[in-house]
Symmetry: D2
């Protein structure tokens, strides 16, 4: 029998009670569908408050949807998109970016999920050469799929370089809040204000039931996005229920609080296993995930009690994710079982 | 100031309280994402009970998603899809079917939203001729976009013909429950059991917050659908919240009750306006919508008080939709205002 | 045993001897591939002479390629393309336009292959409505697939209307030369100069071995076309062999002469069968094709001796095409056999 | 003033005189279009003689077309295609494979353009995991884009492994003849008979004007290819002119002779520059290309007299290709100028 809460993913978590309250509270009467309602209008205004008045935001169902719509808004099918080899768009979306945008993805090998200007530079050739998919978008993930984080300076450096070459910078911010909490920055400081052109802003991994946002640095970039969203099957009819969730997340400080708590639990877990010789952390713990190599016989034993995923079968690396609802008790129970297994 | 409830669309309605209860009741602890949880398993079993043990069902976000995934499961890009000119896939999905499946749509002109075997026959040529997109799917809507309904016999006749030609029959059942309530049939009787191969089964228009299902007549047809769903951006992570809604809808009789009520309200409205000379019904009222021509000066006046949409600008035709939460008072208030406008 | 030359299609014809001479004459030494050679440069200049200095032309393999590249240059995937139901893009390209552009095609029923402003108007709605594929291109065929012809005035009227709505006008000019010869106009007068934005200009049906051109009214419209051409698999490496053919066709008057001869042969055939009661012409003979209803028993007998195609199985309508290499003897032989069959 | 023949690419070469003769010799009368003519039938039979009776071959325009049609025949959009990073499908087709097939390409880094079973193995994971594009095709190039060659044993080993995993093996044989000539094998021995499922067989780089073939190991694999070819814009109307070229190439020994000569010229060039300290060969010379690093100041000087391309700007590497029409005089002239430049 598995525990109530595991470490598989932050999208295994529940819906935050305040978010659930917001959902039920807007369930009154009729509202114009597809975003023409006052709650969606309020949410859109709130996004302007947070990301800047010149930004334009829309809501979609999920992260894959946010990412493929972002790419379509920025690129044509003969373009290419540069990203980390580990990027969600490259390995976790079953080829949705290629299918929906027609673009080629150019993955960059990384150790920590982060890419650098020097690595991007290697793809800056073939402009004007028709045989070559034309580079148009660089996509970075914040926090990365390996739990690491770009500083505002690092993002700015990439943005400046990318813009100097006539490309756009996209950020997959499925866990942007975790990065912001970790850096003690605002959401905008490490995305739009650092030079990001289009941001996929995650909600589901941070306490929502469903719903992600796409934030465009300006309205021009969003010119055709309503058609792209609809044609990409990502337009929800009863939009007030997405908008209300984002309002609950962003109106107070819930977004950062949730993320900070998840980060803290990850740190607590990291501290708790420090010194266990059989366990090797493979990445810095900068947000809400641990990447860990441990003996294979222990992995299976631990998975009998807690949900979590193998990350790299070849080297016996697993991923432990914390969430807004992970408790100190969860961590202690987990570490207790882990130690028992290792010492048995 | 608009009224709380209008007649714009059944997707302007709220979430049914029992559905909302189901949502909040599953918000406990963690659950495996993407459908690996016990609630989704329960919902899948429930669908087998309803549609047949040999069927296979999956959950997606919305109707456009259900339709384009269905087409991709049945056809390759060099195929064509035959449907009514008024079909949602043809006029309300911003070209999503063409973009995601690559298929050509072959629209058939209809007066009442229903297509016939004779009309389908006209497209049964060019097989084996490589210049011609090869017909592979016929798609019908139940209830149709014009509120009319196919009888089980009509569906069976189309299915038999379609299968005799080596094609598949798809049903867009965004309002299947309204058709079932109207015909006093089961959901299965007027879809899978009448010969439908793949069914888009609607939830959002019948009291859900979000979520539609795709029902495959057998597992073979669903062979690759999990990849298609993911690549089409329609895979939800916190799947339990979709599954729980469908369980609430289908476990008792809520699905049919909701639909029956909406149908009744449409009938009540139709009866209330009978005899008003300025108003002409253009379609039979068989489900939960009225299609009505009335003087243009009255339309605007009425829209000042109630939400509803122009259907055909050219001939001054509007659509009035009822929903599970439309009340008798709503109908009476609407008719009262309508009569005042006409008589003023 | 079939005759040397039939009436199946102008693409069953041979390569004109002057075109073949041009091909062999450029087969000397090496030339930069993909159009960087002096022969292609010369051809491009020739196109400017003919269609206007502000135009920009590229070469592709075939008509389907020219059409789908044109659409991609003018529209995005959420757009729609309005055309005659009989248009090559709608019925003879196996869904290539939908697959490669993602666009929806909106076919208009026509009796003679020509569409009118009034018919286009019916599709001029839903602008800004995200559920609706946004109209962006009107595509007309000159001469039409039914052998009829738009006058310069008719084209101008369509172009003016189309432009007033913010759309583009595409012309499928697979048989543009036949139209020009028939109207005694220049190629430009009935295309670019009449308001066409992008023209698919046919070569293969008028004596070339392979090769079509796309003429853009200005360089801006052609901005990304070299990438679109490559990604659509339509970029030929040994381009000099396409360019040389077009030079042979266009430098003298061969293009018009070939077309005029084909048209003349069609007229001769039409005149020869006038008065035969069993034969009914269904279209005006304005270019190089006849559309004819005749008793089914005669069709098969005639097909035993000459190649030609059934056009409409339902009403027993066949198509007889003439080509630049059809001779008076061919016509006479054909008519002789035809009369023998009818009188037997 | 550049020389008549350069070293830019084998597709800068002319058309072989025997191929041109074949073209002109079939230019008689009419022939059924799209491959229904006796010359195409003859060519298809000839392909069966060469590649095996159970194979099925079709003709297309160019190599990009052959490759993207092959991928579409073998894979669905949720699949991935594993290939060398240097593969033509990965770097020289402007994203056509992604756009037309929707598949993800998984490039493998290689030093010599060849991939190994061990490298393929690293991508053999995620089967059944819907977030992951499902591996379905491995594509190798013979001879590779770097001029190297797979032995029959190497191909067989890859084929066996690929088939054991339920994948297909595609070969891009744009220069298959050069590989066959180099290995002294038949065309079939190093492709279909070594386990290749679908072969893109090149003609244009070996003396044709235009035209490539796709050879399917069996008819089942080719089941839908005629529709795919048409929808991918690769169906030529006057097919006899493609078929005649392939007959000329394959009926005698012209295919191998042309390739052998080109290979010999490459070897001669390699031998002529041996011992020049400023020049470093980066790849084995196994077919008709040399990859060479030389001082940048010399590159420009040499390019003033001969066409050839920079291969890798970063490390100052150029590519020198020979062709069937490269003469010993061309080599000597080139080496003479090269030495003068180096010694000046």
């Amino acid at each position: 029998m598995k525990r109530l809460r595991g470490f598989a993913s932050d999208n295994n978590a529940s819906v935050h009670p305040l978010v659930m309250d917001a959902i039920t509270s807007v369930n009154v009467g009729h509202a114009i569908a597809y975003g023409g309602d006052p709650i969606t209008e309020e949410a859109e205004k709130l996004f302007k408050t947070i990301f800047g008045n010149e930004t334009h935001s829309i809501f979609v169902y999920n992260g894959t949807g946010a990412n493929v719509i972002s790419i379509q808004a920025l690129a044509q099918s003969f373009n290419s998109v540069i990203c980390a080899h580990t990027a969600h768009i490259n390995v976790d979306e079953c080829g949705a970016p290629e299918k929906l945008s027609g673009c080629k993805l150019l993955p960059i090998d990384t150790c920590d999920g982060k890419i650098t200007v020097d690595q991007i530079k290697k793809h800056m050739h073939g402009f004007g050469f028709e045989h070559h998919a034309q580079p148009k978008v660089v996509s970075i993930t914040q926090a990365t799929e390996l739990g690491t984080i770009y500083t505002p300076e690092e993002i700015r450096e990439i943005a400046n370089y990318v813009h100097s070459k006539g490309l756009y910078l996209h950020m997959d911010g499925a866990r942007l809040a975790n990065a912001a909490a970790s850096l003690n920055c605002s959401l905008a400081d490490i995305s739009i204000k650092a030079g990001v052109d289009v941001l996929s802003f995650g909600g589901t991994k941070n306490g929502l039931m469903f719903g992600e946002a796409i934030v465009f640095a300006n309205a021009e970039l969003a010119e055709n996005v309503k058609y792209i969203r609809k044609q990409s099957t990502q337009l929800h009819s009863k939009m007030r229920f997405v908008a209300a969730q984002f309002i609950a997340l962003l109106k107070g400080n819930l977004c950062i609080e949730n993320a900070r708590h998840a980060n803290l639990m990850a740190l607590k877990l990291a501290n708790s296993i420090k010194g266990i010789a059989e366990i090797q952390l493979t990445q810095k713990v900068e947000s809400n995930g641990l990447f860990v190599i441990l003996p294979r016989e222990h992995i299976q034993a631990l998975q009998n009690e807690f949900f979590f995923y193998m990350w790299d079968e070849n080297r016996g690396e697993v991923r432990w994710m914390t969430a807004f609802d992970t408790t100190e008790d969860d961590i202690e129970a987990f570490v207790k079982v882990l130690k028992e297994i290792i010492n048995s």
